[in-house]
């Protein structure tokens, strides 16, 4: 629970007395404080600097080191204080977290040192307050990248390659030419041939010399064979390169869809198409246009140049700004073209034959090019023409610097927004996981509590210790409060688990299920079979159990079962059914007739009898495997947290589990 809230628990519990006269059922027993200690000051000696705080302050967060009994390991008997051989500066922040409920990240602190301290004290970094979280994440990412770079360069220098497959080595060589000399050679060779190819495309069209017949031929036709050979060589190289990349790619499908591979394909396609199509006069026109695509080979340089890639990415990310510029320009062009057309309509032999024809004039004028191939002749035309060119200056010249500066601003902003969104998602997911623990823990401990009562009744104590560990006093008090509310209203909490698609509930219905009916229900809900027992013996099993209610409630509790992989079993709470017989029959046994006894569908349990008998059908998981514990054990996998079952949304957000 949040810091301030835990302090109000006594208030809420006291106020619960207001429910008592209204309740129809007897209330559950309050959790007893086994060793009630008066609140005391404890001294924390961190590397010589003494901090003092109240014990209850630390106990607000019972699943951290300082809040749990783990700190007893650090208790120094001689000086009666807790000694930690850690950094006192960071400890200040950590202690403030207990006091105020907010964890801050000091900027002067090194990120990895801070992380280590947090891990030592058992505090999730996700709890860092909004004020400091962004900074923390940024520093962390920077650090991670730096470490990654260091690792890479280390690997390169050592030349120690773990046994990667041939395919993986090839891919590495392609992506990063500095890994080996062969890769470097390949890199330069391909670069050279790209350049050669581009130059030949260019030179092909230069007129070089004449042939008899007084006609100037472009070099391409004069030395057709030579050029053809060059082209073939280049295309060969490119094809081989493409096929090699395709072979080495870890995900071929993804590779084919990537931009670079499309460019590769487009670069070499014209050649092959030209091979296939012979010198057919009809299609040679189309063929010639295809040759235009050869110029795309120049884009292959983007593999060789980091700057090109960044530029491309920047343009992509500023697409909306550019789009808006284009849109406003288009609007202006249309307006002026229309105006010019109608203005020049009167003049004879006017070049402004139609509005689309005027587009050309407008564009040339607005961009202050002014070719002069189209000029207005009428007075009106000239007036509007000058307005057009003046506004062109404004429309073009002003936004360009703004857009340029927008590039960098929007680029960074987009980065930060996406970053924040991704962080937020992952962060909330992890906090949700931690919080799930509390609501599940309630039901869990409720079962524990009832189990305790049953055990007390039947007198087997060896399992009692089993159940009573794992929940702090504050938690147990909170759960008791929730339980009181359930008793007052006659309803009980339901935990809906969408991932498991199993409904769990701890019901307090009145039927005592005998084995037959129980098994029947279980089979109807297609569960794994597991032994049911009427005696509260703890047989542990890892099956999925659901709440098997009586026939009467079967229709309202449909329990589709899903077969879970073994990994998920650890992370979910086992569901148990506890049936409490609040009837007037004091006996433990029952018969079928009693199942039909309470056939009124009212919600009010007729609890007149004082006796509570419990039949425990299945067993909760051992306390060590609560989701809380698990979420702590996996600090580095925020993505995985979404697999851990969550409870209903309204249930999660408000309760903080720490």
């Amino acid at each position: 629970m949040a810091a301030g809230v835990a302090a109000w628990l006594p208030f809420a519990r006291a106020a619960a007395i207001g429910w008592m006269p209204v309740a129809n059922c007897p209330m559950p027993l309050a959790p007893t404080e086994k060793n009630k200690r008066q609140d005391e000051l404890i001294i924390l000696n961190v590397s010589g600097r003494r901090f003092q705080t109240w014990r209850t302050t630390l106990e607000r967060y019972p699943d951290t080191l300082l809040g749990s009994t783990e700190k007893e390991f650090f208790f120094n008997e001689d000086t009666k204080e807790y000694f930690f051989d850690r950094d006192p500066e960071v400890f200040r922040c950590i202690l403030n977290f207990y006091r105020t409920g907010k964890l801050h990240y000091p900027r002067y602190e090194c990120i990895s040192a801070y992380d280590e301290e947090l891990a030592f004290y058992g505090i999730l970094p996700e709890i860092i307050g909004d004020c400091c979280y962004e900074e923390y994440k940024d520093r962390k990412r920077e650090n991670a990248e730096r470490l990654m770079d260091d690792n890479d360069s280390e690997n390169n220098q050592e030349g120690s390659m773990p046994s990667l497959s041939f395919r993986q080595t090839m891919w590495r060589a392609f992506e990063n030419p500095h890994t080996s000399t062969l890769a470097l050679v390949f890199y330069y060779v391909t670069g050279f041939f790209i350049a050669v190819s581009v130059i030949t495309n260019v030179v092909e069209t230069v007129p070089c010399g004449t042939v008899p017949g007084n006609k100037e031929l472009p070099c391409g036709e004069r030395y057709a064979v030579a050029f053809f050979c060059l082209d073939t060589a280049c295309v060969m190289i490119f094809t081989v390169e493409y096929l090699l990349r395709l072979f080495a790619a870890p995900s071929r499908y993804r590779f084919i869809r990537s931009v670079m591979s499309i460019i590769d394909v487009v670069a070499i396609m014209p050649y092959y198409i030209g091979l296939v199509m012979t010198n057919n006069e009809d299609v040679s026109g189309a063929f010639v246009t295809l040759r235009v695509f050869r110029v795309f080979r120049i884009f292959k340089f983007s593999r060789h140049s980091q700057g090109l890639r960044i530029l491309g990415y920047t343009l992509k990310s500023c697409a909306s700004e550019l789009g808006f510029l284009l849109f406003s320009l288009t609007m202006a062009i249309i307006i002026f073209a229309t105006v010019m057309f109608y203005a020049e309509k009167g003049s004879s032999a006017s070049k402004f034959t139609s509005i689309p024809a005027s587009f050309w004039y407008t564009i040339v004028t607005m961009t202050t090019l002014g070719y002069g191939d189209m000029v207005p002749k009428t007075i009106a035309g000239k007036i509007f023409g000058s307005i057009c060119s003046l506004s062109g200056v404004l429309v073009i010249a002003l936004p360009v610097p703004v857009i340029v500066s927008n590039f960098s601003r929007i680029y960074h902003q987009n980065q930060r927004a996406d970053k924040r969104r991704a962080q937020k998602k992952a962060r909330l997911a992890r906090i949700r996981v931690a919080k799930t623990g509390s609501s599940n823990a309630y039901l869990h401990s409720k079962r524990n509590g009832l189990l305790n009562e049953a055990l007390e009744l039947t007198g087997s104590t060896e399992d009692e210790q089993h159940m009573t560990k794992g929940t702090s006093l504050i938690e147990s008090q909170h759960h008791h409060l929730l339980h009181c509310l359930e008793k007052t209203t006659g309803l009980s909490y339901l935990v809906d688990d969408p991932l498991l698609s199993v409904r769990t509930s701890t019901t307090k219905n009145h039927e005592f299920i005998d084995e037959q009916l129980f098994e029947q229900n279980c089979m109807e809900s297609s569960l794994q079979n597991y032994p049911s027992s009427r005696s509260p013996s703890l047989s542990s099993h890892h099956g999925l159990s659901t709440s098997c209610c009586s026939r009467r409630h079967k229709k309202s509790s449909h329990l589709p079962n899903s077969s879970l992989p073994a990994t998920r079993l650890r992370s979910m709470q086992e569901l148990s059914t506890i049936h409490i017989q609040c009837s007037e029959q004091p006996s433990l046994t029952t018969s079928r007739s009693s199942l039909n006894m309470k056939s009124d569908d009212g919600l009010r349990p007729n609890c007149k009898a004082a006796q509570i008998t419990t039949a425990i059908i299945s067993i909760p998981t051992p306390p060590a495997l609560t989701p809380e514990g698990e979420s702590r054990a996996q600090p580095g996998s925020p993505g995985h947290s979404t697999n851990i079952p969550t409870t209903t949304t309204s249930n999660i957000v408000k309760v903080s589990a720490l």
Partner: protein, 196 residues
């Protein structure tokens, strides 16, 4: 002039300890307990709690439900002088009754909670409001599913039990008498003895 100032200074200095002693005398808490209460009480942003705070607290404790109405009623029960905020004195007095008071006092407090307009009678409407507020706190995800008339039925049961002369309202005497006859209620009143 000096003596007046001195007196004023001493008065302000002496003010705080007096409150602690005064509270100790008026309530049934020891000094240590009062200290603990005050530390928790003071550990929040606003100077003194308002209804918002009670609502927040209850939302944290009962996350699945809607605690607005109940928080409102509860706040009014604590805010004995009806000035919109609960001072520490009010808080301590309320808690003292709830935790250390006699059964009579506790029942009195509960009656006060149910009697929304503080006129000395609990009508069915008032009880219905309270009941709905309590049921709201449970939220929607309950088993069995909450029926529409469940609060009303609950109120009927309550009135059947409490309203001796069947006049449609429950007075404080009827209330206390009926509660004292009910074993369950008597027992549950003692439930939170050891809260502080």
């Amino acid at each position: 002039a000096d003596t007046v100032e001195d007196e004023m200074e001493m008065a302000t200095v002496r003010h705080r300890p007096e409150a602690l002693e005064l509270l100790e005398a008026q309530s049934k808490f020891t000094k240590k307990e009062l200290q603990i209460l005050y530390r928790g009480f003071k550990n929040k942003e606003e100077p003194s709690p308002t209804e918002e705070l009670v609502f927040e607290i209850y939302s944290q404790f009962f996350p699945q439900g809607d605690s607005t109405n109940y928080a409102h009623f509860l706040f009014n029960a604590f805010d004995t002088d009806h000035n919109g905020s609960v001072s520490f004195e009010d808080f301590v007095m309320g808690l003292s009754i709830l935790l250390r008071g006699t059964v009579q006092e506790k029942l009195n407090w509960a009656f006060n909670l149910y009697d929304i307009n503080k006129d000395g009678y609990i009508t069915k409407e008032e009880m219905l409001d309270i009941m709905k507020a309590i049921y709201d706190m449970m939220g929607k995800c309950t088993y069995p599913v909450l029926k529409e008339d469940a609060p009303r039925q609950h109120v009927e049961t309550f009135f059947q039990k409490m309203d001796k002369n069947k006049d449609g309202v429950v007075t404080i005497d009827e209330f206390i008498e009926s509660c004292q006859k009910d074993e369950n209620i008597m027992r549950s009143m003692q439930l939170f003895e050891n809260v502080i």
